[in-house]
């Protein structure tokens, strides 16, 4: 909030103390300002007031006129001349609260000793603070069959429920997924799901977290631990670029659960189910524990650290080497890779974009994104948000929640440019500009934006030529803000750290001699390589053509690119040093494998899409695993150079000392859109995106989570469906020269030329199966 916003303040007296709060503040929150805690259950600061539990009753008078009965302080905004008496000063309020507490407990089971919530339960806590010590209830308690699944990952114990409606209100008001509701009436009222619509919300875990009793529990955590046995560490989410604040709860070295942390400016109090529940990959049985070196027989064998480091150093020194670092590296790790490439390998051949990417994108990132400062606040204040190559609900869920909040609050206008109308955009009642895959650029040009508008560009914008050029032109002509929102948590940090061939750390263009001198001075290096480095695809080709002999690879899946075969061939051919947490296509082909720490085992930070640092400490403090940064330092030492980055703290300090680049920014060459293809009757242009819940490697080992993934379908338009006599549920075989996938058809709102399928879901791994993801012509046959 800027100081320019004038806020009407209202002064009220609560329990004899004056407090001034902004107009519209609820009494219960005004009391909090004074440190007066009024007990409550249904009240939640981010949900609309409901006044259902009646626990927060207080006595109120306004200008001498007293309400005849106690009022729910969670529903009444402060007014001038208001005098509030809480349980602390009013016998009536105190008795009312104790009475409500007694009533809440009559039907609540006394199973706290086996309840997940026991020890961190608002009902338990407030029963102690605001209840009678003994119950007068001698009757029969209401019982239900327990528990029932409301989804594969959320369980409901109905007899524990106090019917506060937090979960149903969250689902409706925050996630816009009203798949749970209150059913029945009276004491038999209960949370229920719809018969035909499963509770497949990407945000369902939040209802477990905000349940004020143990009625909603997570299937993966149920009966696993007592809260008081857990050690909690503030952390950040590694699953996407939203930048959620998190809490990681560990018992005896093992992560048992993760919760959404509170950060009003980013994720408020929410997170998505992937962030909450996808952490088992860290403790998977196949985690790499020891270094391995390929011996003279070509077999990978376990090796000591000195042995492995020596082998890695020798191999990287032997020929020209390049660096491939995945988008999951922390800011500090990415900085380590960036510096390693320049200092130890004397090359700018480094690219963090282990996915489909383009030269246009690399220029766009250097010209428009690095160092930019568009934030969530800009979304809050936007008059119009445009989505380009970006599905917020699937690719950055907290951005979706923020858009949804503004949509619900003030009908924020959202325009989505794409080929298929998504569930998320439908929920935002967004304007859907339907174009054939590959033709997005033309739709971007000429959008009526203002300086208050925000263009959210996803990483998939790079998949169609000319889109980023058009976005830049649109921003220039309208003064609208641009935000680039990649899927992966580390990409923005890697960009700022210069883990890309055309930029040095801090947004300094490689091509700029003074930028190179700047960084060389900081690093104490005589000079830095001047040639702009190769991109991902160029690095693989250079290996295959013999120009590059060695690769340093960290956290990369070579099959995330469009040409997986070339990538695998390159990995087969080159000397590969792999820094990984688990066996992969890279480690299989590596000459040296160095196991690294997973997110919970190290400290560091991510830069979210805003460029905001999300730092975290190691949640598991006795891990033997080292961060990528530490290992890179050791390899460098072994190679005879020094990174001077012994610790994450040292790296963070060095990053902070970089300062901002005030020289000229790189410019963006104009790229024009490709021509629309002409299609035969059974030809379509493929389009796809990754769903939030899919076959991503970080979701490994969490079946309950996978159970709520959206269905794998191939989507075509009603018109094409009619031509091909296809109805929902028919099997469609989609083929390219590489291979085919066969999926169940769904006829929906999509461009007539396009067919959509999930990019990496069960039965539909397009990059591997088809060697295509967006813009390619595919053949479709009904079988």
């Amino acid at each position: 909030m800027t100081t320019a916003e004038i806020v009407d303040m209202i002064t009220v007296v609560i329990d004899g103390f004056e407090v001034s709060v902004p107009k519209g503040t609820l009494v219960i929150r005004a009391a909090e300002q004074l440190g007066i805690q009024i007990p409550r259950f249904c009240d939640h600061p981010l949900l609309d007031p409901v006044g259902a539990c009646r626990q927060c009753l207080v006595d109120i008078e306004i200008n001498g006129r007293a309400f005849p009965k106690p009022q729910a302080s969670c529903t009444i905004p402060v007014e001038p001349g208001m005098i509030v008496k809480t349980q602390l000063t009013s016998a009536v309020a105190d008795k009312a609260q104790k009475g409500v507490m007694e009533l809440l407990l009559i039907n609540h089971p006394l199973d706290c000793p086996v309840c997940d919530k026991g020890g961190e339960c608002p009902l338990q806590n407030q029963a102690l603070s605001s209840g009678h010590s003994e119950s007068r209830f001698q009757g029969v308690k209401r019982t239900f069959e327990k528990p029932i699944n409301i989804s594969s990952q959320v369980l409901l114990d109905r007899e524990r429920c106090v019917l506060c409606a937090r979960c149903t209100r969250f689902s409706e008001q925050i996630a816009s997924d009203p798949f749970i509701t209150l059913n029945e009436r009276g004491a038999l009222q209960q949370v229920g799901i719809y018969e035909k619509q499963p509770f497949t919300s990407y945000f369902s875990g939040n209802v477990v977290q905000i349940c004020p009793v143990g009625a909603l529990t997570g299937a993966s955590y149920r009966f696993r631990a007592r809260p008081f046995d857990l050690v909690s560490t503030p952390s950040a989410c590694e699953h996407c670029a939203s930048g959620c604040d998190m809490r990681t709860d560990v018992r005896r070295g093992k992560t048992l659960r993760r919760l959404a942390g509170e950060d009003a400016s980013v994720n408020e109090e929410w997170n998505c189910d992937k962030g909450r529940w996808a952490f088992k990959y860290v403790t998977a049985v196949d985690r790499l524990a020891h270094p391995q070196v390929r011996n003279s027989d070509g077999e990978l064998v376990q090796a000591s650290w000195p042995e492995a480091l020596a082998a890695a150093a020798a191999g990287l020194k032997a020929s020209h080497a390049a660096v491939l670092v995945g988008g999951r590296a922390t800011h500090e790790d990415a900085y380590g890779y960036s510096k390693f490439a320049r200092v130890a390998l004397s090359t700018n051949d480094i690219d963090f974009r282990s996915r489909i990417s383009s030269d246009e994108e690399r220029e766009f990132l250097a010209a428009r994104v690095v160092g930019s400062k568009t934030t969530y606040l800009d979304i809050d204040r936007a008059d119009h948000v445009v989505l380009v190559g970006f599905e917020p609900e699937e690719e950055s869920p907290i951005v979706f929640l923020r858009l949804n909040k503004q949509f619900r609050k003030r009908a924020l206008k959202v325009t989505s440019i794409g080929s298929k109308l998504s569930i998320g955009v439908e929920k935002l009642k967004g304007e859907f500009v339907k174009v054939a895959p590959g033709q997005e650029a033309n739709a971007v040009a000429g959008l009526p934006l203002t300086a208050k508008s925000v263009i959210l560009v996803g990483e998939r914008a790079s998949e169609s030529a000319g889109v980023l050029t058009a976005v830049a032109a649109l921003a220039d002509s309208t003064s609208a803000k641009i935000a680039w929102i990649p899927r992966r948590a580390g990409e923005r940090g890697a960009l700022e750290a210069g883990a890309i061939g055309n930029l040095l750390p801090g947004g300094r263009p490689v091509a700029d001699a003074s930028a190179r001198v700047d960084i060389a001075a900081l690093w104490g290096a005589p000079s830095l390589p001047a040639a702009v480095g190769r991109t991902n695809d160029e690095i693989y080709s250079a290996v295959n053509s013999g120009d590059i002999g060695a690769l340093l690879v960290g956290g990369v899946d070579p099959l995330d690119g469009i040409n997986g075969a070339a990538a695998l061939a390159a990995l087969d051919k080159a000397f590969v040093v792999s820094l990984e947490i688990a066996p992969s296509e890279v480690t299989q082909r590596a000459d040296v494998i160095l196991p690294v720490a997973a997110i919970t085992e190290k400290s560091g930070s991510f830069l979210n899409w805003e460029g905001r640092a999300r730092s975290f400490d190691a949640a598991v403090d006795d891990s033997l695993n080292r961060s990528d940064l530490r290992i890179l330092s050791m390899i460098a030492e072994e190679m005879g150079t020094s990174l001077n980055l012994g610790t994450v703290t040292a790296a963070a300090k060095e990053i902070a000392s970089l300062g901002t680049w005030d020289g000229a920014r790189a410019t963006l060459k104009s790229t024009s859109a490709s021509k629309a293809a002409t299609l035969k009757e059974n030809e379509f242009i493929l389009t796809s995106w990754r769903r939030l819940l899919d076959l991503g490697t970080l979701q490994k080992g969490e079946e309950n989570l996978a159970g709520t993934a959206r269905q794998t379908v191939a989507v075509i338009s009603p018109q094409r469906a009619a031509t091909l006599s296809v109805v929902d549920g028919d099997r469609l075989k989609i083929s390219t020269s590489i291979g085919s996938v066969t999926l169940s058809a769904l006829v929906e709102d999509i461009h007539d030329d396009a067919i959509w399928a999930p990019r990496n879901s069960r039965g539909s791994q397009l990059l591997v199966n088809l060697g295509a993801a967006h813009g390619a012509v595919v053949t479709v046959v009904k079988i």
Binding site: C53, V100, Q189
Partner: protein
């Protein structure tokens, strides 16, 4: 001269009273013609001047309610008629709709005109299918006759049989297709009611009273009733009386007078207790026979006029049993939204069952009263408050009878003696 003032019920004894022909024959649809020619504000003023107050129980001045609708706001306005008559003992709207549905339709036309609404909705309880049929026919006939459809439309919506939907905001939720549960107020319906538009919600009888006021003027209506409770109303008498039914009389009449009209208490018996306005209003006894049955008179005696549902119980009735039955009703009908009503009624029933079965003790009476204190005024809406009325008032007047259940280890009454079939043989 009879104390009765038949206005709404004037022609109930005619065989075809419910038809549009009979209604028109008896002067119907003249008031709407007259009102439609008037300035809407003048109609509101006339209703205000008449002193008509809400007949659904709360007694809020009808004209004032209409006046709350913001004018010139370029929004749709709605009229909603509450025909979800479900209070135990209350039986005035259903007979009225059975015998004279057109008076409501005409009232709706006038009210819609006054509040500048193009659409009216009648929300009727689901169980009364025969009345739904009759009202549907009447609406159809009114359309055919051109009274409806010329700028004012009327929709009959059948509820699913929930007492809570008589609460006006729960009714609106139900009408919108949601579960019927009361809404948080403010905003009040006059600002954001049905579909978040300015809405007037009135009882059947209130709207039905309007045509006569338009025809005869405010002064005529003012001439009936008492100082602050003007006009005439339907009193519905049921229970242990010789001649139960609806009695339309000026406000302020006493039960003694109505009983005279109804042939008195069941022959050979004496009045024990009665409700002035349905089961949600604290009970009265013989001592209240001369209490004027108007809003102020009943309130002064410690109860509420409510729906003027006079349920009469003679000395054969066990108070504990009667109160338990009512409480079971509230438990069954509690919507579940708020804790005091949902959990409280669940608990009240268990204590009362024990008391009736002679398994209680004196501490239970204290517990019962304390529990009522924790429900009354702590609930989200008036349903919870109403649930406590029979309990607290009955313990006030008949504490000894509760104690008798405890000391005798059971009910001292023969339940058959209170039935209508007593003495009829097996």
């Amino acid at each position: 001269m009879s104390k009765l003032t038949p206005i709404l019920s004037a022609h109930w004894d005619e065989k075809d009273s419910f038809t549009i022909e009979a209604y028109t024959r008896n002067g119907g649809y003249k008031a709407s013609q007259k009102a439609l020619a008037m300035d809407p504000d003048a109609v509101i003023q006339l209703v205000k001047d008449s002193g008509l107050r809400g007949r659904g129980g709360a007694g809020f001045p009808t004209g004032m309610k209409w006046g709350f609708i913001p004018q010139g706001d370029n929004k749709d306005h709605y009229l909603v008629v509450n025909a979800d008559e479900s209070e135990p003992g209350t039986c005035k709207d259903m007979p009225l709709l059975m015998a004279n549905p057109h008076v409501l339709i005409e009232g709706c036309i006038i009210a819609c005109h006054a509040i500048r609404a193009k659409n009216g909705f009648i929300y009727i309880r689901g169980e009364v299918t025969h009345i739904v049929r009759r009202l549907n026919q009447a609406i159809e006939d009114a359309y055919k006759a051109g009274h409806l459809g010329n700028g004012i439309d009327l929709v009959l919506h059948v509820g699913a049989g929930a007492y809570i939907c008589g609460e006006e905001t729960a009714l609106l939720d139900s009408l919108e297709g949601f579960r019927g549960q009361p809404r948080l107020r403010p905003p009040f319906p006059a600002i954001a009611g049905l579909y978040a538009r300015p809405t007037v919600v009135n009882n059947v009888e209130s709207i039905s009273a309007v045509p006569a006021i338009i025809n005869n003027g405010a002064d005529w209506y003012q001439s009936m009733g008492t100082e602050k409770s003007k006009g005439a109303t339907l009193y519905s008498l049921s229970g242990h009386v010789n001649n139960p039914g609806q009695f339309e009389a000026p406000l302020g009449i006493t039960l003694r007078e109505i009983l005279e009209l109804a042939g008195g208490i069941r022959t050979g018996h004496t009045l024990k207790f009665w409700t002035p306005g349905g089961s949600s209003t604290p009970i009265f006894t013989q001592d209240h026979l001369d209490t004027p049955l108007d809003y102020e008179g009943v309130a002064a005696a410690g109860s509420m006029l409510g729906t003027k549902a006079l349920q009469i119980f003679d000395e054969t009735t066990c108070i504990v049993r009667a109160v338990l039955r009512w409480t079971e009703f509230y438990k069954h009908e509690s919507c579940g939204k708020c804790t005091p009503c949902r959990e409280g009624t669940w608990w009240l029933v268990q204590i009362l069952r024990d008391l009736e079965a002679g398994k209680g003790n004196e501490a239970d009476l204290a517990k019962l009263l304390d529990l009522c204190d924790n429900i009354l005024g702590r609930s989200f809406c008036a349903l919870g408050d109403g649930a406590t009325s029979p309990i607290t008032s009955s313990i006030k007047y008949f504490r000894d009878e509760y104690i008798a259940h405890i000391t005798q280890g059971g009910c001292p009454f023969d339940p058959v003696a209170s039935t209508l079939f007593v003495g009829a043989g097996a």
